[in-house]
């Protein structure tokens, strides 16, 4: 596997004034680029004075190469096609690069597929000039893809990223608010339900689930360490991590799927329940696992059972509070079945944790 690297070209100009209509900008990375407002041209190299304001012409058709512009960094601007064609500077056009370009086309094609998971798909062509269009734009997308991983993505990967960004469109306060709600569910039920319905996010579910997996495995191991008489005999049990991970991630995926299947089998339209909202609520309802697992470190059987029960009740109350009204409206016949499904899932998680992760009851 190789990870190709594309250098930004050397700036040949010395420090001197710019020709008329040229302006210098700096990217966030500190790289400098130059823009000609009259000819509407953008390039990495400092323009020499020989290029006048009339330079709509290029050095030669065949020496054109697409240069990534800062507008490539922005996904929105990409859609409007602000990519520019820019002439190779004189120094690079010399030296017979053109002969090797055909080789580099095929070479760059292969590694690029391996390089970046986000990269892929045919790059859109900028305004066509000359026969090196396809090569130039492929170079550009590869270059942009390696320099700015997500921002240079084109095609289907770009739209997937944009879709994902919609799902993660929350701010820190939103997430904190939702977490607090999941822990103490008996406050502000109405706005909470609205919030989850209109703006479900996947950040919370995923990271709450991951944190829960880690905490469950960690506290399980730690509790076993505390219970042992002799510390030296402790051998950590890594299988707890796999058990916790498969349980939590599995249920996070399986429960909404099962609900969807149930909807399908009962003959109703699958779209009537907002599944993003369901997944979001289910994910956030895993939050009580985290404080509960910390409390379970205390080696008292009664306290552990109490913590598990309180956690279970909190999760279920949260789910009921946020989903019940919506379900009653969207799929009234299935409301109790879906809620019952969530109950079972949570019971499985909490009971498995209490009984399997701790040796002593």
């Amino acid at each position: 596997v190789c990870f190709p690297n594309f250098n930004s070209s050397e700036l040949f100009g010395k420090e001197m004034a710019l020709p008329p209509n040229w302006t210098k900008y700096t990217t966030d990375d500190g790289k400098e680029y130059y823009h000609n407002s009259v000819a509407n041209k953008t390039q990495w190299e400092k323009p020499d004075w020989s290029e006048g304001p009339e330079s709509g012409s290029f050095h030669s058709q065949s020496s054109e190469v697409y240069r990534p512009t800062v507008s490539d960094l922005d996904l929105q601007e990409r859609a409007t096609g602000t990519a520019q064609m820019v002439p190779l500077s004189g120094e690079e056009a010399r030296g017979g690069k053109l002969a090797t370009e055909a080789d580099t086309v095929s070479l760059r094609e292969a590694p690029r597929g391996v390089m970046d998971s986000a990269g892929g798909g045919p790059p859109p062509g900028p305004q066509s000039q000359g026969s090196f269009l396809g090569f130039g734009s492929m170079l550009a997308s590869a270059a942009a893809g390696s320099e700015e991983g997500a921002a240079g993505v084109q095609g289907w990967a770009g739209s997937m990223l944009a879709y994902g960004q919609q799902l993660f469109d929350v701010s820190s306060e939103d997430v904190l608010k939702r977490l607090k709600l999941a822990l103490v569910p008996f406050q502000g039920q109405e706005d909470a339900a609205n919030d989850f319905r209109t703006r479900p996010d996947f950040y919370g579910p995923f990271w709450v689930a991951t944190t829960a997996v880690l905490f469950l495995a960690a506290t399980g191991n730690f509790a076993r360490l505390l219970e042992l008489e002799d510390e030296q005999l402790f051998k950590s049990d890594f299988s707890l991590v796999s058990v916790a991970a498969s349980m939590i991630y599995g249920l996070l995926v399986a429960v909404p799927l099962a609900a969807r299947l149930g909807l399908y089998c009962s003959g109703q339209s699958v779209d009537c329940i907002n599944f993003k909202q369901v997944i979001c609520v289910f994910g956030y309802s895993l939050t009580p696992l985290i404080p509960m697992s910390v409390i379970c470190l205390v080696p008292m059987g009664f306290l552990r059972w109490l913590a598990v029960c309180v956690g279970l009740v909190t999760s279920l109350a949260f789910i009921y509070g946020t989903l019940s009204t919506d379900l009653a409206v969207e799929a009234p016949s299935l409301k109790w079945k879906v809620l019952g499904l969530f109950c079972c899932a949570h019971a499985i998680i909490f009971m498995t944790y209490r009984i399997y992760f701790f040796h002593s009851i």
Partner: protein, 205 residues
């Protein structure tokens, strides 16, 4: 300055301007690296890795937010991950599970943390972020090595805590700088969680 194309086999390399895939259009020094002895090629990479490791350990990394790791490469994280996996699985009962877990947590973990930052509309280059997260494991690797030598639980905890604080310093600054204002905490928390997971792995071995 005339440019000669450099025909060199592709390497695990980032942006230092010296290594490019065969048939590249330009190279900054314009020298043909095909003629140099193999040791020179390997030493160049090793020196680059060593430089970056030293950079991670210095306090300067915490201030300028990881700029020295701008030229990313993935050899360093791979070496660190292997070292950590070997150290942690040496005395473990389920050695293969431990090693596999270390590998998965380091690579999949840094990938997921980076994708999370990308999804939160951060302006991050994927491989540079994986590189920074990987290199910042170095203090934890040192802590793991020290705790392997001594078996006293107190010292282990202290070493791992120091290593963890050091590791999170540079990488958290790096990550938070590239995220939008209202989401810095959202992007930084997974980084913290990532190093907590590795620190926990070290502690329980």
């Amino acid at each position: 300055m005339a440019y000669e194309p450099t025909y060199q086999s592709p390497q695990f390399h980032g942006g230092d301007g010296m290594v490019t895939p065969s048939g590249s259009i330009e190279s900054q020094q314009g020298r043909c690296t095909l003629d140099e002895p193999v040791t020179e090629t390997i030493m160049r990479d090793l020196r680059s890795i060593g430089m970056k490791l030293k950079y991670v350990m210095l306090p300067r990394a915490r201030e300028d937010k990881g700029q020295g790791l701008r030229e990313w490469d993935l050899w360093g994280p791979l070496v660190l991950c292997l070292a950590l996996g070997i150290m942690l699985s040496m005395h473990a009962e389920q050695a293969s599970l431990a090693f596999g877990l270390v590998f998965i947590i380091v690579w999949v973990g840094s990938g997921i943390v980076t994708i999370n930052a990308l999804l939160l509309k951060g302006k991050i280059s994927f491989f540079q972020s994986v590189c920074v997260l990987g290199y910042c494991i170095f203090p934890l690797v040192i802590a793991a090595f020290c705790s392997l030598m001594l078996n006293v639980i107190w010292l282990k905890v202290i070493f791992v805590t120091i290593g963890f604080t050091w590791a999170t310093g540079a990488s958290v600054n790096f990550m938070s700088e590239l995220l939008p204002e209202d989401r810095k905490a959202l992007g930084v928390y997974p980084v913290w969680l990532f190093y907590v997971a590795i620190a926990w792995l070290i502690l329980i071995s």
